[in-house]
Symmetry: C3
Subunit: 349 residues, 3 copies
């Protein structure tokens, strides 16, 4: 694909410093880029060595002045496009050069489509996928091979469902949702009542609702609610191996990193970040814009706008100091014993 610098700058709303007629044929990371590639540089560290890229053009921050920041004057080897957010601009340009393949619009004759299924236009269904009865699917949806869409499920427009995904009965999926392979939406919540030594199963009658623009990673499990819905709100993105229990609500634009577990009925705010392997206890809430550190074990509600880490969770700033003391515990123990000995000696009659 051949795109001029002028076109690229227009696409991302950037300002060219160099030759607008330069033709760019591809994209590449800073150190791998060649004369026909565009790359980006947004950290001071990378910007310092901007003259070292072989790229034909570099996306840089709006206020980047090579004369000042590199001391190279105008001898910068590459054309520049200045923009507010070079990394975002780069991602947008990646989509220009490598657009997602359009839905084939083919429904494989090897798929199984049940009764009373409503399909929008340009729906693709791969071989051996199963669309059970009473399913509604919007337009331009791609269901890869071997997904199962259970009875009564509703799916919006422009959704991508990868192989070996299970979306179980009655769950509701919005538009522009992506669900990666191996993920299960709508498994039963883990609910039992003790009946003597036996655990009596509480029927799980609710659903999972996934709103627009959500991306669910590979091998996630999102359990259906006991009543009502487990609710993943607009713009949430989850990494792989995330476990979301019954009746959890995850607020808009929250990021959940790999192997996080959220126990039943927890309420996660909007624009929260849950870092890898963190665990969130049941029935607590995590406020909006809060960040939970990796492997943290959060057992109490956390207000909005906090950064917490550790087990038990504490402010991240405190955790950084605590984590410097932990390896020194044997030394502290010895010091205490020394102090006791000295004081004993001092007080000995």
């Amino acid at each position: 694909m051949e795109i001029s610098l002028a076109q690229l700058a227009e696409t991302i709303g950037g300002e060219i410093h160099g030759d607008p007629d330069t033709i760019i044929k591809g994209i590449a990371p800073f150190d791998d880029a060649g004369q026909e590639d565009i790359t980006f540089a947004d950290s001071p560290k990378i910007l310092k060595r901007i003259s070292q890229t072989g790229a034909g053009a570099v996306l840089v921050p709006k206020n980047f002045d090579p004369a000042v920041e590199t001391g190279l004057g105008h001898a910068v080897p590459a054309n520049l496009i200045r923009s507010e957010n070079p990394r975002l601009a780069f991602a947008k340009i990646m989509n220009l050069y490598f657009p997602a393949p359009p839905p084939s619009g083919n429904i494989s004759p090897k798929a199984s489509v049940g009764e009373n299924v409503a399909l929008g236009t340009d729906v693709s269904i791969g071989p051996f996928s199963v669309i059970e009865d009473n399913v509604t699917i919007g337009s331009r949806v791609t269901i890869h091979p071997q997904a199962v869409i259970g009875c009564g499920v509703t799916i919006g427009d422009d959704v991508i469902i990868y192989p070996n995904v299970s979306v179980l009965a009655r769950c509701v999926i919005g538009s522009r949702v992506i669900i990666h392979s191996g993920t299960v939406i709508g498994s039963d919540g883990f609910g039992f009542v003790p009946d003597g030594e036996i655990h009596y199963k509480i029927p799980q009658l609710g659903i999972v609702q996934i709103d627009d623009d959500v991306e669910i990673g590979a091998c996630n499990t999102i359990d259906r609610a006991t009543f009502g819905r487990t609710w993943i709100k607009k713009g949430v993105k989850t990494d792989n191996h995330v476990q979301i229990a019954h009746n959890v609500v995850v607020g808009e634009n929250t990021l959940i990193v790999a192997q996080v577990g959220i126990a039943g009925s927890a309420q996660i705010g909007k624009s929260v970040i849950l870092a890898g392997q963190a665990g969130i206890a049941g029935h607590i809430s995590i406020g909006d814009y809060t960040t939970v550190g990796p492997q943290a074990g959060v057992t109490r509600s956390v207000p909005s706008g906090k950064v917490v880490s550790g087990t038990p969770e504490m402010s991240h700033k405190l955790w950084l100091r605590v984590s410097q003391v932990i390896p020194r515990l044997p030394e502290l123990k010895r010091k205490i014993a020394d102090l006791e000995k000295r004081l004993d000696t001092l007080l000995k009659p």
Copy 2:
């Protein structure tokens, strides 16, 4: 569905306080219930505000006396059913209103059924499920679409296997077992012998045996034994993303919460609770009726009847105190330094 209070009380063995002819059409949580719903209240907190539910009837504890506990006298707005265990009664009534759909008894012509397969009565097999050769399946078993039942597997009666489950060669599944989507039963144990720098694979010749009334969550992995069996005993319930290694034995009625990992040859007792994200080392044993806290790292055997938490595992009571000291470590370190300084000053000649 319309059921009278009298019938409901009889089903669960409860005692009516109110009008036995009241017709109940559904069930709902305490705060959502309407005049034709039944709900339950078993915590003191909920019982206190029993007059606030809109429910037509409330399941309450045997000894609940609204006159005493709410101070409302007999002005309680709803009919009551008193029983030993209102939560259990509610779960049973949920099953009355929302019974599991009976097995369709259909074997999809799109399923693949191998040679020498023995099927009981009313077996349902969804499209694209694969039943390999020499499989034995009991009666009223439902195999959802896209499950794989490997060669020589045996499955009891009244089993439900959800989509995208793999039950691999020769494993044995009891009756009334439920296996949720994405789960793998009978993958190879992680066994290698060093051969210089190379890891030589130890063939995994055993099986997984899952006894009656077990429920296995979504995306579990239960490895087959090297020899003999990995054994999940009667009544065990596992949540999602649980990892059970080769040759592990899990005792009757044990609960394993999401993302727990149990290493090879560990022995878990009966009626144990392993809370979320806990890790159990290989070759150790966890005694009957013991509870292991969330994220605990258990590296030594734990006797019966204990409650342990933390890494390293310790009594839960101790852990609660330890976890209050951890955030104060920087402060303790400073205090020790202060003490040293004061003592040095004191002892200075």
Copy 3:
């Protein structure tokens, strides 16, 4: 199967102590073995009680002298085969008695094979597996039922892919690779750029490359690189539920135990061991021959040849001492308070 002791000794390069014509019909663990079985004993503990096995033959270390080590003189009940590595010898003999079934060479008429697919000889493909377009598969490859092999994937010789595995577009799999059920190779890396409150998806254009002799456990997720490749090098073995993020490189012969998570762009050396539930931060490196303990949280690069544990990671030796102090923290806190009080009293005017 009947194999003489002489043949077994020759296979593994061992030396017989006993009757070379003894016929061995099977293999079994030490305590279960009968007169026609061979077993092995390599730990001092087991060797001490070698006379207690019912086995017809025992694999023992090269320098094992029953007269010395058991005090039984030559009254050892079993034939012995001495070898450098009895455990390895045993694993090799297991493969002799229980050889992996040869590939059937059948391509199920119920599989879906796309266009421009190149297959070697003796390829087996199970029912409802999907081989998309432009796939290349070597010889003697077994693809179990319901695997998906995406467009443009390349697979070497003698590979085994279990049910419900997804190998997504363009990934490259070497020879003698085993991939267990439920695993996803080539899901998108978790890459987003903030665009206000929204997370803009960074297209993931790279692949996963898995080299020869790798074994990937069940329900693993290995994300494709943003650019280039996520690379699992020769001889790596992963247990179940392992998460490997985009652009990670895992060195030769590294072992990754269950539920480990490795964040983006981390570099894991060769012959590393990552124990269960450990977490490795992004963009750091773990040196060759280093071992990371269970549940460790590694946030800084670790040089070669180390053994680290804990969160934050520290030397394993230090961690062992730290983990003995942690349960004594409430006691240490009290001691500090006591010391303060005593010193206050002492200094009181």
